[in-house]
Amino acid sequence: MQRFTHMYESLDASTSTNDKVHALVAYFSSAPQPDAAWAAWILTGGRIKRAISHTDLRLALHEATNLPAWLIDESYEAVGDLSETISLLLPDDAAGEPIGLAEAMETIIAPMRTMSSERKREVLRTAWKRLPSEQRFVFHKLISGSFRVGVSRTLAVRALAQVAKIDQAEMAHRVMGTWEPTPAAYAQLFAPQHADQRGAKPYPFYLASPLEHAIESLGDVSVWQAEWKWDGIRAQVIRRYGRTTIWSRGEDMLSDRFTDLTNVLDALPDGCVLDGEILAWEPGNDRPLPFGDLQLRIGKTSQPKHNELLFVDTPVRFVAYDILELAGVDMRSRSLQTRRDELARIISNLNAAATIVLSPVIAFESWQQLSTLRESSRARGVEGIMLKRLDSQYGTGRQRGDWWKWKIDPFTIDAVLIAAQPGSGRRASVYTDYTFAVWTGDKPGTGELVTIAKAYSGLTDAEIDRVDAFIRSNTTSRHGPVRGVRPTMVFELAFEGLQDSSRHKSGVALRFPRINRIRDDKTADQADTVASVRVLMRLQADRS
């Protein structure tokens, strides 16, 4: 744990990408293999399930320190993070054999999951005796399933590739999918490049960059292919060794969630990988259903009956836009033009027009014309337009320049800040979680203010400090950590969509709400009304 904690602290303290990679490389070059295997697994996105509840953690702390529960609560309020609170409250009395990461994961955390609450606390108190205080924080994060570190998967992959002295894309491929954090699997990551170690692993997804400059800057229209930007689940379909697997971009295996798709995709030729989007599709209508409908299909597989109903109510289709492997050959370095031709052939051979379709190419002759077409995005139920160079390879990660996403502007409303509570972690003791409201009356400033959204992100640190100061000097009520705030400050919120909601008093919920800016130029009685927000909802619904 010492080495791992040291690496964690370096990653946590630094904002420089180079320093982070440096810390990772130093770790992977020196850590014992069993520990390094776990570290690689965790940093490339392996999820550790919680082994002990917060209640038991608190109880064990109480048993170890005799501090009353209220004082533990007060300490937690000030710190904002339970793992850290516990490390700060425990006495510095560690002695005995140090604990390695693998040992912690395999002999303490894994067996703990099935233990009785009492036994868990006993094991934990024994572990504390062996853990110096600076290692306890990370240990608590692991044991409570809340380990996060300020390093992206891409960065971890870069460091691993550097240590293994292989290509970054190859390493990205190797750490994809499921693998066990064992020394053997870890050694595989470092094996020399094999001809075929692919199994059911997806390729790294190539991501488009948001288009932030004028569309005309892309130059000659004839070298670009335009498609609609679908609002579904980005997925890779892999047909290898007589099996079909579907992977999401978050690398969840989705095969069993979408057996209606895999049944059809089983007809793909072996050694074939497609990239595309899973969409819920309105029966008898040629447009996708909102993302919310698709969400019903994920995470409900534990109720097969329900799922079968959903198969009927919410049929899905796979809209294919790329082919990454054909007849076992990696196609990614071919041009988009070539890949698209092969893709079209494969899809038409499948003969499954209702389920597997080719993402249509948008015909256009000028940027002006495409710009006009983009205006119809909302009506088509898409998020905008994708632009890909016809000669582009299928890259890894987000290499800029070849693929662009040209999204439609988000919806915006002006809402009033009415309540706030402190954030957690870095933002504990600063008010960063805001609740916003709009008016119930038929005109702004009439009726009462009702909640419509909570939003956290979008402000700079300086703005956060300013809003924090405003909240502190304009508090009207307190309920636990939540402060009611005098409704005078107006914010422009951006969001991607709306749906009915029983959670907010306004009866409407915003999808992906974030703060665009502080509207110092507006007073509360100029903010939006529930009615004006519902107009946007109709706009979203009237898609044809």
């Binding site: 946590d12 710190v79 933002r427 600063v430």
Partner: protein, 359 residues
């Protein structure tokens, strides 16, 4: 039992002696006893100020032209109907606890204090009393300090490592007290030492009181080059992110404060390192001190008042909390701090007064 002190609009007041202790709104005709010169304790406006002898020049440096006199630690004198004496509080140079006695009844006001000896050599001594009014800045059990020399080793190791990579080290520390504490811990063999003007202001006063600090120069346009890459610069928190700080080229920045014990404030501060160095008592220090006074009544002020009061109540003491104008949670005031008394106003904007002497 006589109430030797009462909380008034202007602050703590002793009716029998007709004086205030650390009044936040003193006026004409008022007498003030000052525990120490941080601006949440020493405010301008009273006719007469009294503080510990070693604190007089510090108070004058803070308040400008006021009538201030000093009393030696331990000397008892009469003010009105009460007997008063000042005793070392160990917080900053000349910081004092105020002892008040009337007909055998003893009250002590702690001001800010810490239990460990620092460069001033003025070690806090708990004073036996019936009623003790204590600060509670770090009144939570999460706050526990390592010995100062250990923090000193951490600072020196960080500085040496920066210097070996050609990076300038900047430590942000409150100009009065903390900055001098940091200076006293430095190993000057590592490289040249510089201070911001706001810190420099107090150095002659510390020197005159016999405090030995390493030789240092004021960091200004003339010697930026000498500091760059190997020197260490001690500056007030307000200089953070300023054009002044950027002059030192590639630099590593640290903040020295008890608040750095917790990761959130450490990260919010946006510095590379946080050194847990405080001029306040930690939780065990508060509890030890309160116990050593033998007081059966404890007033809790300045900080985590309700937490500490509840803890003491559960230990069988009679407690109450005293509001001050400088509560972080009130949000309405306290923007002119110069100690580490507050978490919420402390990170950025609050130290303009100290950091504003940009050259």
């Amino acid at each position: 039992m006589a109430e030797l002190l009462v909380n008034t609009e202007k602050g703590l007041y002793c009716p029998l002696g007709d004086f205030y202790i650390d009044p936040w709104r003193p006026g004409a005709g008022d007498k003030a006893i000052i525990t120490h010169a941080h601006s949440d304790h020493a405010r301008y406006g009273a006719d007469e100020y009294l503080c510990a002898t070693s604190g007089v020049d510090v108070v004058l440096a803070r308040l400008g032209k006021v009538r201030a006199s000093g009393a030696a630690f331990g000397d008892e004198f009469s003010v009105g109907d009460v007997r008063v004496s000042l005793h070392p509080a160990g917080h900053v140079l000349g910081s004092a606890m105020v002892r008040i006695e009337h007909k055998g009844e003893v009250w002590v006001v702690s001001g800010d204090y810490k239990t460990e000896r620092d460069c001033t050599g003025e070690l806090m001594q708990p004073i036996r009393c019936h009623t003790f009014i204590t600060e509670s800045t770090f009144g939570l059990p999460i706050y526990r300090w390592q010995p100062r020399h250990v923090i000193g080793q951490q600072i020196n190791a960080w500085w040496a490592s920066n210097a070996s990579e050609g990076v300038t080290s900047i430590v942000y520390a409150y100009a009065l007290g903390k900055a001098q504490s940091v200076l006293s811990l430095l190993d000057a063999s590592i490289g040249p030492v510089f201070v911001h003007g706001a810190v420099e202001k107090f150095l002659p006063i510390y020197a005159a009181a016999g405090v030995k600090l390493p030789a240092c120069e004021r960091a200004d346009k003339m010697n930026v080059k000498a500091a760059m890459g190997r020197g260490i610069v001690i500056a007030p928190p307000g200089a953070d992110n300023s054009a002044w700080a950027r002059k030192f080229g590639q630099r590593s920045e640290a903040f020295a404060s008890g608040w750095m014990r917790v990761r959130g404030p450490r990260r919010r501060r946006g510095v590379d390192r946080g050194f847990v160095l405080s001029d306040h008592a930690d939780w065990p220090g508060l509890l030890e001190t309160i116990k050593a006074t033998g007081a059966s009544r404890v007033g809790v002020t300045h900080g985590y008042t309700s937490v500490l009061a509840r803890w003491l109540t559960e230990q069988g003491l009679e407690t109450w909390t005293l509001a001050t104008r400088f509560e972080g949670e009130s949000g309405s005031d306290g923007n002119d701090q110069s100690g580490e008394g507050q978490l919420n106003t402390e990170p950025s904007s609050s130290h303009a007064a100290d950091g504003g002497e940009d050259d």
